[in-house]
Amino acid sequence: MTAPPPPGSPRTRPKARREEWAGPLMALPAIAGLVLFVALPFAMAIGLSLFNVRLDSFRPPEFFALEQYRRILVSSEFSGDFYRALGNNVLFAAVIVPVQVTAALGLALLLNRPLRGMPVFRTFFFMPVVFPMALIATVWRLIFDPGPDGMLNSVLGLATFGLFSPHDWLGEASTAMPSIMLLSLWQGVGLQMVIILAGLQGIPGQLYEAAEVDGAGRWQRFRAVTLPGLRNTLVFVALVTTILSFRLFDQVYILTRGGPDGATSTVMHLAVTTAFAESNVGRAAAMTVVLFVVVLCLTLLQRRLVTQEREIS
């Protein structure tokens, strides 16, 4: 390598200056976009949540301090709906995270074997991931149709030799949320599966060989080699799924509109209805700020769990 020219020499100066300018110029379009359409709206979310802003009113917004938060978190008028929605998000996460991660792990283990035709199977397991949720919800509306011709009712009727009487899956409070969960599981599990599959391929084969030499059986190898090797992947997948659970919107909006009687209402759905149908932007903003706080805590928790692992190993 040649020796660097002396600093300040006429040959390098223009270039250094070029770089000094090129950097900010190249970053400008994206950073301007992020500031204008992400950072500013987020600051506005906090700002709006402190005001009584309505879309349908010509009165200037009135400063509300923490009144919106008091309303959604404490007041008897609105907090019921909000906690119902937040509770549904929590319920969704509490069911979908363990079930989906376990299912994804199972599918990944099934695929991670030398069997003919694996790429074909993987294609099918992953395929729902590329479908827009709006379309999936539409197709599943036929599956959950309340009449005897609904796919699920028809299959269950056939399997029980007609003993099963048609059920209104989406129309009854007790089954509406589980139905939403089922179609979300079907759509999302392929995503977690390929992440876990990549994690499985990252576990060194020697570890399995060593365990086998030590006389470890299938189950023991799974407990002693596979699970510890996947720890970070599983933590990551579980937390991403949790965060996605708090963003739940599309399928609820299309299939149930939060009903019946709030059984499938979610924070995002409530926020959109509040902003849109009730034109109450201030209260909707307060809801999304609470949502953000939840997501932030989950993200920080994930970073903590994953770094801890790195420190240990």
Partner: protein, 301 residues
């Protein structure tokens, strides 16, 4: 494809420690059972998709018909023609309007995003300039913000631009996550690249376009695929911003369509097939990239 699926693991190897009469038969039975299991699981995943495809070719009243919805009978392409016939005036919108809106909005977000975000990432990863570290921290901080957390104020902020293609695309071009993906990739490229370029008298722009971009195809593919996937299915934002059928994207259009009686289910399924077909084709052709992108980043949206 082989990367993910075909690598044999020790746990999967056939065990040879069981001598006896079943010795030869056993692997055969096992592989048979195995395929049966895999086939059943595949059926669970494929059946709603199959149902949609078959339904799109059947008369409307034979789609919502229990298990016989799967029976391919009286097949025709009538439903596809019906979709175009149903959406035939400005009050309903035209199918090609929906499709065109989705293509244009997705195209602008994906292509614009590739250009703008890769440039920013290059400046952050490989150029030295005042304020760089502060900008980097801003980008990393914005990573935590899901779109849902800003949708409501963004809707308020851009209320005057409702019902345009611009409002559906421009705010989504710059993306902290895309910048982060490019940034991590550019950071790992060897330092000598720029030095060689500089000796030839090339400035940062030329080094970026001529050397860095051609070297970084994998990360461009990953970002393109992930943003295509997110954007083609984007629903929340159009729900908030679009009511005019002439700029209604496909996901919003199908949600309106399936919510208005009378329900011509065959037509609705045909609409669905046409909506997902571009995505499905890209997926089947670039499957390896799809799976790898998603697996490497683990995030959709």
């Amino acid at each position: 494809m082989t990367v993910l699926a075909d690598r044999p693991t020790v746990s999967g190897r056939t065990r040879v420690s069981h001598p006896g009469p079943g010795r030869r038969l056993r692997p055969l039975v096992r592989s048979g059972l195995d395929h049966l299991l895999m086939g059943t699981v595949t059926l669970l995943f494929a059946s709603p998709i199959l149902y949609m495809f078959i339904g799109s070719l059947k008369p409307d009243d034979q789609v919502l018909d229990g298990l016989s919805g799967f029976v391919p009978r009286d097949l025709s392409l009538d439903n596809y023609a019906d979709v175009f016939a149903t959406f035939d005036d400005p009050s309903t919108g035209f199918f090609l309007n929906f499709f065109g809106t989705s293509v244009i909005v997705t195209g602008v977000v994906v292509l614009g995003g590739l250009v703008v975000n890769s440039m920013a990432a290059y400046a952050l990863a490989r150029l030295r300039w005042r304020g760089r570290d502060a900008v980097l921290i801003l980008v990393l901080a914005l990573l935590v913000l899901p779109f849902e957390a800003i949708a409501v104020p963004l809707f308020y902020l851009l209320n005057d631009f409702r019902n345009t293609m611009a409002v559906q695309s421009v705010p989504l071009i710059a993306n902290a996550f895309s910048i982060f993906l490019f940034y991590s990739f550019f950071l790992k490229l060897p330092k000598e690249i720029e030095e060689a370029g500089r000796l030839d008298g090339a400035g940062p722009w030329r080094i970026f376009v001529r050397i860095i971009v051609p070297m970084s195809k994998p990360v461009f593919a990953t970002v393109a695929i992930l943003s295509f996937l997110t954007q083609w299915g984007m629903f929340l934002w159009p729900v908030l911003m679009v009511s005019d059928p002439s700029v209604r994207p496909l996901p919003l259009a199908i949600s309106v369509y399936q919510g208005q009686p009378p329900f011509a289910w065959g037509d609705i399924m045909a609409f669905g097939v046409m909506m997902v077909l571009p995505m499905l084709l890209v997926f089947l052709v670039f499957q390896r990239w799809f799976v790898r992108s998603v697996a490497s980043t683990g995030l959709k949206g």
